[in-house]
């Protein structure tokens, strides 16, 4: 049996940058849990974030991508090596941070998947897709944590 997905929601006393709530998840290193984790986050965001369409697509795809990368390359698909997800959210902004226990990577080394020579490759689009769907992407210095920000007026 796979380790269970766990989640915790907290209301933030002093909302920073309009981010009034914090949802934390512990996701087992198992790709079979990705969709459940994404739905759980999306359902929480629907209670406050203004842009339903962005939750339906941009947020879901970006989070699924980040979780897939973390589980495949950070946790090595070892269910016992969990991925930590921290989502800060409010009416006008969502910040999703996904952190794995792996050695990290250099995002600057990922080739552009839209170049003609790379376009027919079946892999290498994850980070590019994330960048295209959210407003800001930040990495930890080690490269094992990605923070994705979606803002709406």
């Amino acid at each position: 049996m796979r380790p269970a997905l766990s989640a915790h929601l907290a209301r933030l006393g002093s909302a920073r940058r309009g981010l009034a709530a914090e949802l934390t998840l512990r996701v087992p290193g198992d790709i079979g849990v990705v969709e459940e984790a994404v739905e759980l986050v999306a359902r929480h965001l629907e209670t406050s974030f203004v842009d339903r369409r962005a939750i339906r697509f941009n947020v879901r795809v970006a989070l699924a991508e980040a979780l897939a990368n973390a589980i495949l390359y950070g946790s090595g698909e070892d269910a016992a090596r969990p991925v930590a997800v921290r989502v800060l959210f409010g009416r006008h902004a969502v910040e999703m941070e996904v952190t794995d226990e792996g050695g990290g990577f250099d995002p600057g080394l990922i080739p552009d998947p839209t170049l003609p020579a790379n376009r027919s490759r079946p892999y290498g689009r994850g980070l590019f897709v994330i960048r295209g769907l959210v407003d800001e992407v930040r990495f930890s210095p080690k490269g094992n944590s990605i923070c994705m920000v979606v803002r709406r007026a």
Binding site: E35, R60, R119, P122, V129
Partner: protein, 111 residues
């Protein structure tokens, strides 16, 4: 979440993606198409009308299947993408790699 496979009277294998096509189910999707290719089918339509979202693993499996089908002398077409899915194909420039039509009926007529 399921992949519904049916055969059109014109012999086109239609695979409907009901839900997501992502990292966790891409192999199941790939196997369904490869089984049909193995059985001799050469015309494939992936219908995204009931689809929620696709991730880059899903895009990747479409790219690799497209090549395999072409190598066997076949044809893979995509249809029923909503605005968000179309944007994803445009963003990754995969709209240049696939034959994409608005409705499944248009795609079937084009085979």
């Amino acid at each position: 979440m399921a992949f519904k496979v049916r055969k059109d009277p014109r012999g086109v294998v239609v695979v409907e993606v009901d839900g997501q096509l992502i990292v966790s189910n891409r192999q199941e999707f790939k196997q369904k198409v490869l089984d049909a290719l193995e059985a001799g089918d050469r015309k494939f339509l992936v219908d995204f009308t009931p689809t929620g979202y696709i991730d880059s693993s899903g895009l990747g499996v479409l790219v690799s299947l497209s090549k395999k089908i072409r190598d066997e002398g076949g044809d893979l077409r995509l249809a029923g993408l909503n605005e968000d899915l179309k944007t994803l194909f445009e963003l990754t420039k995969l709209d240049t790699l696939f034959a994409i039509t608005d409705s499944p009926a248009e795609a079937l007529a084009a085979f």
